[in-house]
Subunit: 402 residues, 4 copies
């Protein structure tokens, strides 16, 4: 009846277990490899991490129960994913890293039983990884999805796909691809995209170079991917033909929010590290943490953390009710990506020279969080979308009042 | 069991009634008097406004049911007060303006039956107004309450109070005062304040000049008040002797949040006015609202509104559970005061020359909201308090780990 | 040969005299009337102020020597005007307030000898005031000058002018108007404006209401002005027909910079007032000015003052060399308007409740400086112009490299 | 007589040569090694770069003419160093990288003839590198130099030095060290530091690990250095005993400004790269560079570049006049470090996914410029120093007026 923000007991128990597992087991491994998951062993390392998570009872909190997960909704995921994100390797350990987490979510909603059997089941269990092939190099689909240039045309018994993608997270080593391709219309027009499923070893799929990005915690990197006369059967269509953009929204809203959850955990880690430093270091005749300019940074971090969480709570609640929540997720994502960056940046600043060194995890965290203001829609594109809704409503109101 | 952010139906009905009443009845009156409530008629005008609110079924949403109110908790007040704040005269109309609203809250919690009868009942009904006499000119109690210099000493049959206050909202015309005075300790020490109740016409209470502040929507202004050998009986003590600072917290946490609710309504008004302007005005070959730099301002306003509401939701929920919520209210107040200022400032900027003119309510709103970053604790003091908690906890953790 | 930032001795002497005159004579008068120049007596008060300035040897630093001024170039004006701006009434006292100061500048460059005799001479001497009638209500010329809708058409022996203006500073009581009217082309097209000179008592000029703006220090206010079949002779054309937009640039570049000079003085006043407060007030066991969060505000003010001055120096030097300096003046104006606002806002914040009261000049200063982010081109329009140049140059470079 | 900001012809010629050399020769080498100077070959690579700079006539613009340099003062260095900084390897090529450039400056001012012969001559010629050993790990001299803990005590024929340093730039491979050690007083007290000169191969000097920092463009890295019973003769004293803190100021003011010059060049590089991108890429139906939110970022970059240069001009002019310029350099450094960071950050944002990838130099630039807000005094320490001067002056004025 009334507003309730309490965390259910079973979720809280999972939060606590996750916290213990991440801080006790995963953070030390991250520190040992300076947050570079490829250096830590890539997929082999992932398998070990996930075994440990399963042993700790914290594996796959998001996956449907029938696929071995905990079946948590969005609101319940928030505190668990935040704890997982406290280590850069945490999401991989729990099998909730991008893009697999979002792909599990989307397949659970859209895939047919055969597709679920073939793709969702092994993905949810961590037997394989996956990739979501949507983003294209300019002038293709980047911030503006309507520019989609990869094409699928009908061919004998199915479809022939040609096109180039890039920034395809986890592509190197993925077990299968979800491919976004234009099935009608021209680049610049919205309508007419379709999603296809294809095992990674299908002829016509070529994974190119790893793009050398600021972040280094994603297994399989961010890669170029080429579809060269890739032939897929009719059964490869995910959902229905020409509804790809619509499905992308099913994936993107929740995926934005789980990104926020994980990165908020990373920001909190940075904050905790910095606060511990200023609580013990001396300077100018007092503890650094008792100096006004440092106190301002500490408080601004606390405010940014609280506001990010609060906006996330709202958006998750809307998603759990089955609303599209496009505005709430755009608002939460935009605020969070900028707040998280500020939190880590202030944390570095509080620690002085140490802050930009490898002796603390802050420099590493700063590299990881910066791209979030661009990934999953740059802040500018989200602001544009938010303003379009607001101004559009005002225009309609003006018309109606005439 | 799970998170729930839905507004109960009866509250929503009150929200809707309030919205209709404010926009239909109160906004036009505010516009007619440029938001200057003294010019509009002061207390006489207040009485008329409150009669109209009673007729509309929206009077005193916060007051206990036994005193004629709707008895709403903090969470339920939020959307109602926000609608009331949409007009600068709205809170007065609903009898939820500062300081009366906070005084009703505090008296309901702390006063004894006789005091409730004498003070709370007429206050809740709008028969009288009240003042909360805490703030003092330098070097007395301002941002730092421990500097409290007004003293009450035991006298024949009660207490004798001497001291100077200022920025006492609503003092001119108030029916009674709640007086914060030192009953033990010295200025600079925390302990030892007591609250006293006294009718305004008691000998020894003198209301001085109105301080000419940026804001003009408060009936009774912000005044200097002098206590000159004011004698009050033992029964004037509110609660217990020497627990004044503690009671102040009972008042201040919720009072901060209702300030946020009201001012958020004012900010939303500014935003709506500006969006309506840019949705219809042309420039540079398009509607202003379709230009990127304007879209950025619109979106940033939406984000600030959403984040303020979300932080408010959190703090109110904690207060409704009976938690002190000192950190949550400090965070929400600090963020909100700055966000509300930004929202109104951007709204002015979107409207160009019109924005700083009296032809729109924006300039007036900007004057009203600026002081909120100072009233109820300047942002710097709240940040200091937030950081003290965080750094203090880190210091304790370090000690414990040794 | 090398870079030199020293102030010539004679200019420094004028700076020092101005400083003494403003602080000794003008500031007390401003305080006595709360910065409201109409309340202080309007034009009569202006005449007295200017007599005192002449007696102090600081009158008309900008006017050509042959018209009784000091003949200072832009670089030399900067420190003198900044001292004048230290009081809101200072520019009026020295006869360097907008729009007269800019009109003197433009007439000295463009008017013919007869026009100089008729208009420039009495204006420079302070015998009359003037108005520059360019800005129009929507959908006319506001931020986008090409929307100019007031028209002048050839008529028997001259021109007939029709149109509406607003935000015409100083219109009420002005001795003459400089009128910007379209003589060819259509609204939305750049080309084809002409400037006309007309005595204020010419039939067909009607001054409407004062627009009630945040600022109150301009004699003659900001007014609506209507041209209703206003007939002017051929000799009323200022410069040449159809070159009005070009002349506007002659006026606007320097006028922007003198605005910056004056308002920088106002900001420095605010800063000085606040620093004096925090240097003496105590709180939290120390002088407020020794607390870190206050120190941050003090330092940020110093940085903003220094950066504003430094950008101004650059732009004035370019203007003195005869360069159009469009980019340098846009950059300096945009930065300065925002910096000056921040400085005054921080100064208020440092002073707490006092800061938003009439007991200090800060609230008044805050109202005065806010519109500067809109007057003389909103920040958004300047940013657009700056970016157009930069991106345009990059586009040309790309084309050339192909 | 009057203000002059023109660049002398011979300096402009050097600026032009430097620009040609950097863009034609150095930028391609930087790109080939992703800005990692160790990977590019470290000292061997440096020798080659410097040979090329000498051939191009741009070597050692700062060094005294008698030591083979161009003998430029601070004002003249500014545009040359900015061009050098356009490539991260540029300062090394011209022999003006930190700390050698600052050490040349200081030795030219303070060293005696024998010391100049032994240390300054080969350093100015690029035959050797140097290190400035001042910063210490907590609780030693970091942001607060008075905490200096390394001690030099008189010993047979000279001094015995013991202590630990870190973040000693260029230590690995340096030919000699300038060592800051306490010769009187206790940590926490200002007085009593002395500078000593010692060849790097002196027994008792041990270079420890490289600290893994965000930046990678410094030959010799940032190292730990240990002095373990290091014995130096009396002739090793630089200047006079106990005047080390004073000499440090001689070095630090100019060194801060040359840091700004170099990093401003790097920021301009980032800006140019981003503007070239948005001038050619399409999205949302137009060039990205014609969209308002991108235009805002472009304009803000231009404003930040202009303001940084303008503040630098002021500070350099003061330094060239022989003033200590402590306030002007603190202001310029603080503003510049934050502005440069913003410029590079916006440049990344404008380029979307490409911006955080190794395909453009932006991610690399972002890593390099972040530490500047900490190196050479964190922004907080400079703000504290600026505020101390301002508030201190106000306190004195209050005292004098009593």
């Amino acid at each position: 009846m009334a507003i309730d923000l309490s965390v259910p007991d079973d979720v809280q128990a999972l939060v606590d277990r996750t916290r213990g597992f991440i801080r006790g087991h995963v953070v030390p491994l991250e520190d040992a490899h300076d947050g570079d998951i490829a250096a830590a062993g890539g997929d082999e390392f992932r398998v070990e991490l996930q075994r440990a998570a399963r042993d700790a009872g914290v594996f796959a909190p998001h996956a449907p129960v029938e696929y071995g997960g905990h079946g948590l909704g969005m609101s319940d995921r928030a505190p668990v994913f935040e704890e997982a994100g406290y280590s850069l390797f945490g999401p991989t350990a729990l099998n909730i890293a991008a893009p697999d987490e979002g792909n599990v979510h989307m397949l659970a909603h859209i895939a047919n039983p055969e597709q679920k059997q073939q793709y969702l089941a092994p993905l949810a269990h961590g037997d394989i990884r996956s990739a979501f092939a949507m983003t294209e190099p300019a002038p293709g689909a980047g911030s503006d999805p309507s520019a989609l240039a990869t094409r699928a045309v009908r061919a004998e018994g199915g479809w022939r796909i040609n096109g180039s993608k890039w920034f395809i997270t986890g592509a190197d080593g993925a077990g299968f691809f979800i491919i976004m391709a234009r099935t009608s219309g021209e680049p610049g027009e919205r309508g007419g995209a379709t999603m296809f499923l294809a095992p990674a070893d299908t002829a016509g799929i070529r994974v190119g170079r790893h793009i050398d990005t600021l972040d280094r915690s994603m297994v399989g990197g961010h890669c170029e991917v080429f579809f060269e006369d890739l032939l897929v059967p009719e059964s490869a269509v995910l959902g229905e033909v020409d509804r790809g953009f619509e499905y992308a929204q099913v994936r993107l809203g929740p995926a934005r929010m789980t990104h926020v959850m994980r990165w908020l955990g990373a920001a909190r880690r940075g904050h905790d590290v910095a606060v511990a430093q200023v609580a013990q270091r001396e300077g100018f005749g007092s503890k650094l943490g008792d100096l006004g300019m440092i106190q301002k940074m500490v408080a601004d971090n606390e405010i940014d953390i609280a506001a990010t969480r609060a906006l996330l709570t709202r958006a998750c609640w809307e998603l759990d009710r089955g609303e599209p929540a496009g505005n709430a997720t755009s608002i939460a994502k935009t605020f969070a990506a900028e707040a998280i960056f500020r939190i880590v940046d202030r944390s570095m600043q509080m620690c002085g020279g140490l802050g930009v060194s490898g002796d603390l995890p802050l420099a590493r965290l700063s590299r990881e969080v910066r791209p979030f203001r661009i990934y999953d829609g740059p802040s500018e594109v989200h602001r544009w979308a938010i303003a379009k809704r607001t101004v559009g409503a005002a225009k309609r109101a003006l018309r109606d009042s005439k």
